[in-house]
Amino acid sequence: MLLQQHPNATPSERRKILVIGRPDGITDVLADYAIQLSERLEADLFVVAILDGAGNDDTGVYPTVDRAIAKETLHVFKQRAAKKNIRCNDAIWEGNMEKAAEFLLQTVKRTVFVLTDSEYTKNQLSEDITIPVFSISTTYNMEGATMARESKEQRKKDLSKTIGYGLLSACLYGLVFWKTDTVMHYFTKGGFYAALPVATVLVFSFAHGAFASSLWSLIGIKPMKKDALQPADSKTIGQTKKLQKRPRAYAYINPFHKI
């Protein structure tokens, strides 16, 4: 099977996934996804933090603090990978991202694709490299922390909403089925009594609908954002095709055929 690594493959011969993060942190989503994927594909990881201007003023000097954060970020990432027995190398690139991508793909052999944060590098990378770039959409806080806290708060909110609307819904059901004979008597009278079943289902749909919505959210079933995982657009594919086009030799019997 093509996916299997050769058992005797040297580190340079092993397939790699290039993970490009931010200098101020690699999101949990990106880290988890990259580690999970490398485990499945039996590929190594090469994680890079790019200092392409975060904290870089006109002088072109990269403050030490950014480098320190990047080092820490990479260290944490490598530790997580090591726990899963995944080989992981790292690097910090100081400078322009296009050059970083070009250089890394030349240096890091057998890179199969690039994983990154969608809002950060996707478009720039797509223009410069010819291997697939996959972007992971994350809810990233520019202050350096992921939205984990917010997600916890959301979870609490979902839980309280689920319980609240669940109780309301249960009470409404109890009310109807407690006096079912009386309810059926009036609700099937017809005429103006038609308003009763119609109004009842509307009230139920509000209470039970809100309960259902918060329940799915609580379980973690939420709508997928369209850019959650996108192969880097047609530009990359176009470039790849262009590069793959080989020159052809034409032999003409009649040298004046074009005249």
């Binding site: 499945r40 099937t188 009594y193 079943p197 119609v198």
Partner: protein, 349 residues
């Protein structure tokens, strides 16, 4: 209204209705309609008369459609203007359908009504389902890409005033071409409560709307005409609120899951689910026909044969439910695991 028309409920029937409501809701949230597709025969298999089944089904349908439409509107999939235009002509169709249903009920009684409902199911589901399946397979072969049908292209090019532009659906078409689709949707909805199985393919193949917008906008139509139909049925005292609320309990959970599911899968998946369900339930209802034919003395079948055929019909319906749930939830699961898709693409390198 005779009180004996309302069945006694037990734990089995309640669980069954809740489960069918959930699956029906899941399907409706995903393909815009289809809850009634399994619910009407489902209720009828519990002994609920056809008219009460249709009335109760319609009464659960409009709040479910409202919740589904709201969800999908949030995902940018609903063309409200399209939904309202279609609902207006479908409203007329609903009234026509109700008159037809009353006429049949008065002329041939409850058995005649059941036969009519089942025959309508089989005929429409077989014809439309086969075409949608054919188109879905064609789309899948071309990588899931949808093409506007030649009929829709031709109709869009005819400038018969008033021309209407639907922004979200991104089409401009004459009002007069929207009317037949709406009328057919309404008539079918009033009689068998599954107008969407004409409405959604109608919007896709006659008007040229994409399947994701068509299925989402169908929920707006379902809400408007479901509300109108429910008021009408309730005025005749035919709505069994107990059945409605039990089904609603499951379907409101299902419809939201189905709506979320549309954000996970390719558009052609909507057609696949729709066609597979339509054909499977058509086969299921086909097995139920001999019973009504026998009761109306049109054809004679032995009691044991009818019992076996009824069991086969029920198994097929359950299978349709499981297949529907399987395709939708499987599609969602697969999309949640993009690594698998990626792995597949690499294995092909």
């Amino acid at each position: 209204m005779d009180a004996t028309q309302f069945i006694d409920l037990n734990i089995v029937s309640v669980s069954f209705l809740f489960f069918v409501g959930f699956i029906g809701g899941l399907v409706s949230g995903f393909i815009g309609s289809g809850g009634a597709f399994v619910l009407t025969p489902g209720m009828m298999s519990l002994g609920v008369p056809g008219t009460v089944a249709v009335a109760s089904n319609m009464c659960h349908k409009f709040p479910k459609a409202m919740v589904g439409a709201f969800k999908r509107f949030k995902y940018g999939q609903v063309d409200i203007k399209l939904g309202l235009y279609m609902a207006a002509s479908a409203g007329v169709g609903v009234q026509l359908g109700i008159q037809l249903q009353h006429f049949i009920l008065n002329k041939w009684g409850a058995v005649g009504s059941d036969l009519y409902v089942s025959l309508s199911f089989v005929a429409i589901l077989l014809v439309v389902g086969s075409y949608v399946l054919y188109d879905a397979m064609k789309s899948s072969a071309s990588g899931g890409q949808e093409n506007v049908s030649s009929i829709a292209q031709k109709l869009q090019s005819i400038h018969l005033p008033p021309m209407i532009h639907f922004k979200r659906a991104n089409i401009t078409i004459s009002f007069w071409f929207t009317v037949p689709v709406g009328l057919a949707t309404g008539m079918l909805a009033a009689t068998i409560a599954v107008g969407g199985f004409v409405g959604v393919p109608g919007m896709i193949y006659v008007m040229g709307v994409s399947s994701i917008i068509a299925s989402a906008s169908e929920l707006v139509i379902a809400f408007v005409m479901g509300l109108a139909g429910s008021v009408n049925w309730a005025m005749h005292g035919m709505v069994d609120i107990r059945l409605v609320l039990i089904i609603l309990g499951g379907s409101l959970l299902g419809v939201q899951l189905g709506a979320i599911g549309t954000t996970y899968v390719k558009e052609s998946m909507i057609k696949v689910v729709m066609s597979v369900l339509m054909l499977m339930v058509a086969v299921s209802r086909l097995f139920a026909l001999p019973k009504y034919l026998d009761q109306l003395n049109i054809m004679a079948f032995g009691k044991s044969s009818i019992a076996i055929l009824e069991k086969i019909s029920f198994v097929f319906m359950c299978l349709a439910l499981l297949v529907a749930a399987g395709i939708i939830l499987g599609g969602m699961w697969k999309a949640r695991k993009p690594a698998m898709a990626l792995q597949e693409s690499f294995s092909q390198v």
